[in-house]
Symmetry: C2
Subunit: 218 residues, 2 copies
């Protein structure tokens, strides 16, 4: 019985890792689509988001079955409940990657991001991919140093996000209103990756250490 339970719990953990890898790929591709005005890459992310949604539902269904058939308690129960929550967060990260891809698609064959802001957005994409990759490894290893790294990288994203507003509000800003809207929205989408990754990091820290939850971001 215990062995069967552990196998099923392992499967839930594996599903979370799979979802997080799909998210990492999605943000990477969405960022590329945004920065290089790559329509087919954008379409791929938009279509691929459905797969993340399907995986979330399968994972959630597996968690509900696990709860129904095994009635886990204590740490095992917390693991399953955390998986249910983290799957929602990962699904949301997939949506955000899709939103970035949708902006890229709307502006095609033009670019949503002007050359003047390209460096900042390239850095945001890198940081969003970075936290997403750290989430994959954190889910695989539960290495608490990674959880701390995620919080630091969330700060990097916040700083870069502030830079996008500074660029928009600088006297030298000479972009169009559409460009201001795109910068505002894409900046917000990318910045949210850090918040969601931090939420997952804190859940893992709680699972591993049992320390009371620090305030949940976002």
């Amino acid at each position: 019985m215990r062995k069967l339970f552990e196998a099923k719990l392992q499967q839930v953990g594996d599903d979370l890792v799979t979802m997080s890898k799909m998210v990492e790929v999605a943000v990477e591709k969405a960022g590329q689509a945004l920065l290089t005005a790559d329509l087919s890459l954008a379409q791929e992310v938009i279509a691929g988001d459905r797969l993340i949604d399907v995986l979330q539902r399968e994972l959630d269904e597996r968690c509900v079955l696990l709860l129904a058939q095994q009635s886990p308690v204590a740490t095992d129960l917390r693991l399953v409940v955390s998986a249910l929550r983290m799957s929602m967060t990962l699904e949301r990260m997939g949506d955000l990657a899709r939103h970035v891809a949708e902006v890229a698609r709307s502006r095609y064959p033009g670019k949503a991001i002007r050359p003047a802001e390209e460096a900042t957005f390239a850095a945001m994409v890198t940081a969003a991919r970075q936290v997403s990759g750290e989430v994959v490894t954190l889910l695989e290893t539960r290495d608490l140093e990674l959880a701390a790294a995620i919080e630091r990288d969330d700060d990097v994203l916040d700083d870069l996000h502030a830079e996008t507003f500074a660029a928009l509000l600088a006297p030298r800003w000479d972009g169009t209103v559409q460009e201001a809207i795109d910068i505002t929205l894409v900046g917000r989408y990318l910045e949210r990756f850090g918040d969601h990754a931090t939420t997952i990091a804190r859940r893992i820290v709680f699972l591993v250490t049992g320390e009371p939850n620090t305030p949940i971001v976002g």
Copy 2:
């Protein structure tokens, strides 16, 4: 045993209703703060969001205890799992109300929304409060007609959201970049109320009818 379980399940349901009422009040106040540049109202929403967060954690803790102590199955189990998910969604709606209030606070004593866009944003606030109020009643009654009404009101919010972009992109637009940023962000925050309310509506429909989940929004 069954009676105790039902009392606890009822408590979880009551907590969800309480959370949803707090969200409804928060969006109402945040909208007022935004439209009338009312600083104390904005502060109230920002401070009050912590209470929603605390309530969410208590509710989640109650759900975990319920799962651990009662090992519910079938419909009961789905109720508890849905409550865990809906509490996340309600908590997120509270965050969005806080974000609206934060924009209002940042612009004080000025107004974030110019007179030209005030009517559209007043309508968005009304619609966001409307869906939030419908969520309260839906959680209390599980009346499926309300679930349908929420989907319609989400469409209203989407249309109003499109209006804000149309205003920004019209040749007559003569606002500042800061105003364009505020309109973009606040429009997005308010529009998200519709998505979240729809997510809750679909979860309730699923609980009541057992019909396979329609695609989850947001």
